[in-house]
Symmetry: C2
Subunit: 541 residues, 2 copies
Amino acid sequence: MENMFEQDLDPVEANSPALTPITFVQRAALAHPKRTAVIHGDIRRTWQETYQRCLKLASALRKLGVKKGDTVAALLPNIPEMLELHFAVPMLGAVLNAQNTRLDAKTMTFMLNHGKASVFFTDREYCERAREALAGCDAKPKVIDVDDPQFEGGELIGDMTYEALLQTGDASFEWTPPAHEHQSIALNYTSGTTGNPKGVVYHHRGAFLSALSNVVGFGLPDGAVYLWTLPMFHCNGWCYPWAVTAVAGTHVCLRQPHPRPVFEALEQHGVTHFCAAPIVLNMLINAPAELKRPFGQQVTAATGGAAPPAATIEAMEAMGIKVVHLYGLTETYGPSVVCDFQDEWHYLPSKQKAQKMSRQGIPSLTMSDMRVADPVTLEPVARDGQSIGEVLVRGNSVMKGYLNNPDETRKAFAGGWFHTGDLGVWHPDGYVEIKDRSKDIIISGGENISTLEVESALYNHPAVLEAAVVAAPDEHWGEVPCAFITIKQGADALSEEDVIAHCRDHLAGFKIPKRIVFTPELPKTSTGKLQKHVLRAQLAG
Amino acid sequence: MENMFEQDLDPVEANSPALTPITFVQRAALAHPKRTAVIHGDIRRTWQETYQRCLKLASALRKLGVKKGDTVAALLPNIPEMLELHFAVPMLGAVLNAQNTRLDAKTMTFMLNHGKASVFFTDREYCERAREALAGCDAKPKVIDVDDPQFEGGELIGDMTYEALLQTGDASFEWTPPAHEHQSIALNYTSGTTGNPKGVVYHHRGAFLSALSNVVGFGLPDGAVYLWTLPMFHCNGWCYPWAVTAVAGTHVCLRQPHPRPVFEALEQHGVTHFCAAPIVLNMLINAPAELKRPFGQQVTAATGGAAPPAATIEAMEAMGIKVVHLYGLTETYGPSVVCDFQDEWHYLPSKQKAQKMSRQGIPSLTMSDMRVADPVTLEPVARDGQSIGEVLVRGNSVMKGYLNNPDETRKAFAGGWFHTGDLGVWHPDGYVEIKDRSKDIIISGGENISTLEVESALYNHPAVLEAAVVAAPDEHWGEVPCAFITIKQGADALSEEDVIAHCRDHLAGFKIPKRIVFTPELPKTSTGKLQKHVLRAQLAG
């Protein structure tokens, strides 16, 4: 028999509405109707205007036939329309598939078909690939063009423009809350370096909670001014379209995270927060002096996707920008492990401080558990900062699963944990440090070599712009590390011997690259991740 | 048939753990083990120490036989032990009944019996009433004394002390997450001015969400320093034991919110946030100058429970303390309606600004909907700032229901809304303004008179310390307003005519009190709410 606290106390309508991030935009419009919600070029819109545009968009999409469970795809840069879709699509119970704008047409076609998109929003900038992608579709979606005044060139390829679509909508539209909070809200394809991408599904509950977790973890205050350096298509912009709206902040849009507009936004709009991959931070650090601008406010940048080299953290702080290091995957709504800054790190020399900060950290507020474990037995490894295992997480910021892929879903959730596929160590203080992707680690003479560790040592060399380390086959050792390096503009000439001598000062002998390849550019995925398989193929070929 | 987004994507262990605030203390100990969690007199404890004490306490309570669904009652001031109970009791699936320390023994007995408390924590300060209350118990709970060095006097009346109990516990105890997130976590009795108190039940989900809502709404940063001026027994301290822990902040304990220790804490501990009823704010404002201390940090005070008179808001801001006005009830986990400050209010004259701020506001992040409506038809009233209706809310910060009271639970949730029992108007900007409790409003010649409005006018008189307005029976008008007033120390003598002349400048004729009663003290409930029924009885008698 149930105890008295469970009797006659079942959830009712008044106390158990489904969690959904749609309420954030509704509340922002109520709480701060006249505050600037969106800045894009010369465009300024308030929260009231933005909410009304979301309602009109939802209403217009409903008239186009979009209903619960339908997919609305968007191939858009970081513009107001992309933000509005993050609210309007869920208002219909439909699912937003924000697509990576850097992909090839063939992959786009795959996603449109796999996700069964019924409407497709695009931008003149991508018209050629979009047209090509649509040509291959099993069932052609309705195509809506955003005719963004901030971009010149390209063509309108669709059935109507976004603004014309809005005109067909009704701002008094009443949106439907999700039937339950596990209802799907977004579909994000992984950038998988090989094979077809997998469709990661998010739900309303996860989006709501991950957004709040970001607000708390990143310290977004009421009215934060957020700069869109991170693509909104990337894990739904790490859930920041929802998080910034939860604090009725201001979204500063940006088509491209180039140094000039970033520094201009910092100066002109009083940006307080932005997120970016370490590679974007490096771009800012290495920007020509004439592009850098002074700014008075406290700025915080969250970075993740790859561990920021200690040198990057140091240089950002020197520019007056506080760095927060996060870790996550598409499958975890973006970052859901945070390198919380320990009060006593303030007293460390900056190199040591940066090293502490380059670790991935501990679970966020909505990620209830994490361990570094044997991927088969799931037994945790020792918290010794040495023993390598797979990083496993569990929590409300873990995806619902992969679309139409029960086998991969089951594998990902085996044993009650989400398997990140990342290898790391567990430090005595509970912080995890990723050593490598499972498939990237080098095993040389039976010893594990973290390619990230070797890369970090290479980044410490003042002339190195970027570095990527992969395994080269070796008859004697099985595998040995090989480094691909790009050099900073204007740096002194660098020889293989110089680099190896530098590594000798920073790494154990067996970790020193046996070969150095200087290259003008490193191969990357469209989200800026190194494509190490390309480098491995190059070595094998 | 379900759409594809609902196929093979059911919640699993890895992605759907129950929301529970217990994870906050676990995370605080992991994220900031060495940061100060608790300050109480000379005691300083870190988050690691605090988490270990919670684990030991849970383990010790388990050994005492406490299990899921059991009630643990606590009659304690704002001391570290009360904080620890907020985590240790839920770790066992048990329910914390934090009792109002100002109640009479008979009411305490009622609560211990009704809640079936199996363990009862108390403090020497309340030994007499506690002993008397226990004497009347149907089944005597195990009694644990907190032997707080910050209090002199009283006696230990229990079976063992808190510290002795802790010694029996094991810090390696593994707590059990709730079986589901609607599992009960706390039991709070309403301070009902008449009849037996009702037992309001909270669950883990509501506590987790309400705490996060406070963090965001009150802007608690990482490491906030929170002063315990609000009783922890009052709606579980408005969920701040959990909220402050969610940001790994510092709890500054306080047995009594007297001006001296409050100002000392502001100066010595760098307090950034506190909550208090308007009456406590008034006490701080009117404190002798020699008690006031300078402090350098930004301090924010949240107030609620009664609308703060404009004069109170003004005086607080003059002292350098930002005021946030909140509204809620025991049934809504404390405040769940927030008077969000509009950016343009900064430009209003301070009187008008304070008037805007004295309105109750709009729903918090976790309260998904609110309306002012006809209490029977539930039809919303016009948003005209004039039409009076009952304030109805719906959201995740609404209680689970009343313990062992299905009739009252059903009534409270009638029509899919929680009925607050408060009457208010809805302003065109969506802000609600409470005019009165349903039972307090005065109907004079067919016109509604808000007693809060009349009281607010009285508070504007410089000599008035406190004011309470109630209906007096009147042959001609049915009811007329009658005011009870206390005078500030050192103020000039005040006559009935002076007060009425003052009212004439501020109120419509029919709202002016027909009678003024000067009294040394107003009757209040133990939580500081005016007991208007006592005044009405006095008038009738």
